[in-house]
């Protein structure tokens, strides 16, 4: 393969520079020899390839909604070079064999690095620990464990899981939802709108309460805790307090919680049904602020593809979740960069460096310097477009951004030195 020379890219907003790529790694641009492929990146910003801590790829089990192939293609289009594939597939990723299978599906597609998340409990049932150590020791090298979709509600199980994964530097990623305060039917932020619409309420306290408990357990066990999809101001306050206290907790926010509010639900369109639910303005403001000041460490998409017929039920009976991989960067750009709340280097931290660090991915989130793996995304900060859900690489169409004008930033994605996506101009 010929060397690739990227000319004039603005590296993390710090000024233009050339990048030379050979055999999947960056080299000193002065070392170019012989014929090289050139990529004119004048006016483009280069960031390390994005890493998504929270992707539902649906394979194995629901290949009609998404496959590893289609999901990672969507990831590449969104600027991602690695995705963590959630465990709630069928079968559940709760054994070393299942984890190795998911990793091998990823290795076969070649659009992005696919890293399996292991279940915390067998079958996500919340009763007994899954084989955490075997998943960690397998060739898949699982470090992130989550029952996502379900809360690890049992305090004792949560304690044991946190303690146990310390042996191999694992992290428990909690889907915080008190099942007594927000049961399986809860589908709308509890407040004015749920009361008017007659939808079962999902109060902020059901999230923040579990997080308050879990940071205490993390302190007790000196373990690594990660909070999935933080959606409300109360949770932000708890995490801020825990971090000040030195507790080893990290947190993520989903793009939709950075922009969409409960009022989207007023028309009962299940496209906007997501778990945790869309929250009112003041919560959106709180998670933006927390992402800017680092209380929330990472943006994670919670990309949740669903077949159309699973969304075309009455609101309360439709599936939870929305697409996110292809639009995540656009939403963060719009809400955080275009409003001058964050710099490019901070964005790189939240969408690449920190997620890679949390998941312990050695080859992701690296600096754009000679010797490091060549993972990067090239961004046109000024481009805008109306999102066309039908043009998605995902097999599903539950796209809440369809029809909205957003930034259209991704020009090219390069993973391990190969171009995995390039925008057609």
């Amino acid at each position: 393969m010929r060397d690739l020379l990227i000319r004039g890219a603005d590296l993390l907003g710090r000024g233009p520079s050339d990048l030379l790529i050979r055999d999947g790694r960056f080299l000193d641009p002065g070392d170019a020899n012989g014929a090289v492929d050139q990529f004119d990146a004048d006016g483009l910003v280069a960031l390390p390839g994005l890493v998504d801590l929270h992707t539902h790829l649906r394979e194995p089990g629901r290949e009609d909604a998404e496959t590893v192939e289609s999901g990672t293609m969507a990831a590449a289009r969104g600027g991602f070079t690695a995705v963590l594939a959630m465990a709630n597939t069928d079968p559940v990723t709760d054994t070393a064999e299942a984890a190795v299978h998911v990793a091998s599906l990823g290795a076969r597609t070649g659009h992005a690095e696919v890293v399996p998340v292991g279940a915390v409990s067998k079958g996500l049932a919340g009763a007994e620990l899954a084989e955490l150590g075997l998943m960690a020791r397998s060739s898949a090298g699982v470090r992130v464990f989550s029952d996502d979709g379900h809360c690890v509600a049992d305090a004792r199980l949560m304690r044991r899981a946190l303690e146990y994964v310390r042996a191999f530097d694992g992290v428990i990623a909690q889907h915080a939802q008190d099942p007594q305060l927000a049961g399986p039917g809860a589908c709308c932020h509890e407040g004015d709108i749920s009361g008017k619409l007659g939808l079962p309420g999902w109060p902020a306290a059901a999230e923040a309460g579990v997080v308050a408990r879990d940071v205490q357990i993390a302190e007790l066990t000196r373990s690594r805790l990660h909070i999935c999809h933080v959606s409300c101001a109360e949770t932000v306050d708890v995490i801020r307090w825990a971090k000040q206290r030195g507790i080893n907790v990290t947190a993520e926010v989903a793009p939709h919680h950075l922009m969409l509010t409960t009022s989207e639900v007023a028309g009962y369109d299940p496209t906007y049904k997501v778990n945790p639910p869309l929250r009112p303005d003041e919560h959106v403001e709180a998670v933006r602020e927390a992402l800017a000041d680092g209380t929330i460490d990472a943006v994670a998409t919670d990309h949740a593809p669903h077949a159309r017929h699973d969304k075309e039920h009455a609101f309360a009976e439709a599936a939870f979740g929305m697409l996110g991989l292809e639009t995540a960067l656009a939403v963060v750009l719009e809400t955080m960069i275009n409003s001058a709340r964050m710099s490019w280097s901070e964005l790189a931290k939240r969408m690449s460096i920190m997620p890679a660090h949390i998941a312990r991915l050695a080859d992701q989130g690296c600096a754009l310097v000679a010797g490091e793996p060549a993972n990067l995304v090239l961004i046109d900060p000024g481009a805008r477009a109306v999102v066309d859900g039908a043009a998605s690489a995902s097999l599903s169409r539950n796209n809440p951004w369809h029809g909205r004008e957003l930034p259209d930033p991704v020009v090219a994605t390069i993973w391990a030195g190969r171009i995995t996506y390039q925008k057609q101009l």
């Binding site: 509890e190 407040g191 004015d192 709108i193 749920s194 009361g195 008017k196 619409l197 007659g198 939808l199 309420g201 028309g267 009962y268 369109d269 299940p270 017929h309 699973d310 075309e312 039920h313 009455a314 609101f315 309360a316 009976e317």
Partner: protein, 310 residues
């Protein structure tokens, strides 16, 4: 009127028009031959995802007396468990060429969703814990008659106070009544323990009170809501006994009502729980009038949707 999904769809003039037309329809009910030719050749489907003998038969009779062809389809049970999506069910029925779909669904919002998928008129016959606009219309019809008959010979709701008592959180009747009565100018007071008041009720155009006895002497209409069995085990209140003592329309409370005030209940009643037998059968009970009003009001609404102008 394209659809009737919410009581909020109607302004005061439209409500008055529907109630006035319902008065005319009720005259027909007194005749030996009850059928009017108004909707001949039109097809109305009652698509019921939830059992309701009372509401379904009321719509069925209303359609038939207007000479529409009325078909009842029971689609009970969750569409998720049957494997057919709501959209497919609704499109399938609509594809048969119906003019109006009367939809009852156990999930809030289902008629809204249906109205976006099809061209036929959609009439909400009760959706989950959200709304039941024709119930609110028939309540207003009944209350208006009561005011005219016994209070001040007026059709006016201004200055009148309606207390709605019971499980507001899970009541579609309460939501629609709040909206409709507010449009008509009545003062609504919601009476319930805090566990049965919906979140955000502070922003509703109503007064809220936890003490029934404080409200009772002020109310021109006392509307009692049914306590669903699942609420009794759901921890919303300690015991049925305590509920009755706090929020039941008991015999002693009958005596504390404002002179000339009347009692409503959307049915079916739990006698002895939210309403005593004395109250249900009292001279100032409008409960059977409400049932009788159901057919007239639904005839009027069907006519408004399907009748003139097409």
């Amino acid at each position: 009127m394209r659809h009737l999904l919410s009581a909020a769809d109607l302004d005061r003039d439209q409500i008055t028009e529907i109630l006035d037309l319902a008065e005319e329809m009720s005259l027909v009910q007194g005749r030996p031959v009850k059928k009017l030719p108004a909707l001949r050749g039109r097809t109305v489907v009652n698509l019921f995802f939830e059992d309701s003998t009372r509401t379904r038969s009321s719509f069925e009779i209303a359609g038939k007396w207007l000479s529409a062809d009325v078909i009842n389809i029971s689609a009970k049970g969750s569409s998720v468990s049957k494997g057919e999506s709501l959209r497919d069910t609704v499109l399938t029925v609509a594809a048969m060429g119906v003019d109006a779909l009367v939809i009852r669904h156990h999930a809030s919002g289902a008629p809204w969703q249906a109205s976006r998928w099809i061209d036929a008129h959609v009439l909400n016959a009760g959706d989950g814990t959200h709304e039941h606009p024709t119930q609110a219309l028939l309540d207003a019809f009944t209350i208006r008659r009561h005011f005219r008959r016994s209070v001040d010979d007026q059709l006016n709701f201004e200055g009148k106070t309606v207390a709605i008592v019971g499980d507001i959180t899970h009541s579609r009747v309460a939501r629609s009544n709040v909206l409709l009565l507010n449009t008509l100018g009545a003062q609504v007071i919601l009476v319930a323990p805090p566990t049965l008041l919906p979140s955000g009720v502070e922003s509703w155009p109503v007064l809220v009170c936890n003490d029934f006895d404080q409200v009772l002497p002020r109310a021109d209409i006392v509307m009692m809501l049914r306590v669903q069995r699942e609420r009794m085990s759901g921890g919303y209140f300690p015991t049925p006994r305590e509920y009755t003592i706090g929020y039941g329309l008991t015999r002693p409370r009958l005596g504390a009502m404002k002179p000339g005030a009347a009692i409503c209940h959307p049915g079916p009643m739990n006698r002895g729980l939210e309403i005593s037998a004395d109250a249900a059968d009292a001279a100032n009970s409008l409960i059977l009038d409400q049932v009788a009003a159901g057919v007239s009001v639904r005839m009027s609404v069907l006519y408004e949707l399907l009748g003139g102008g097409e």
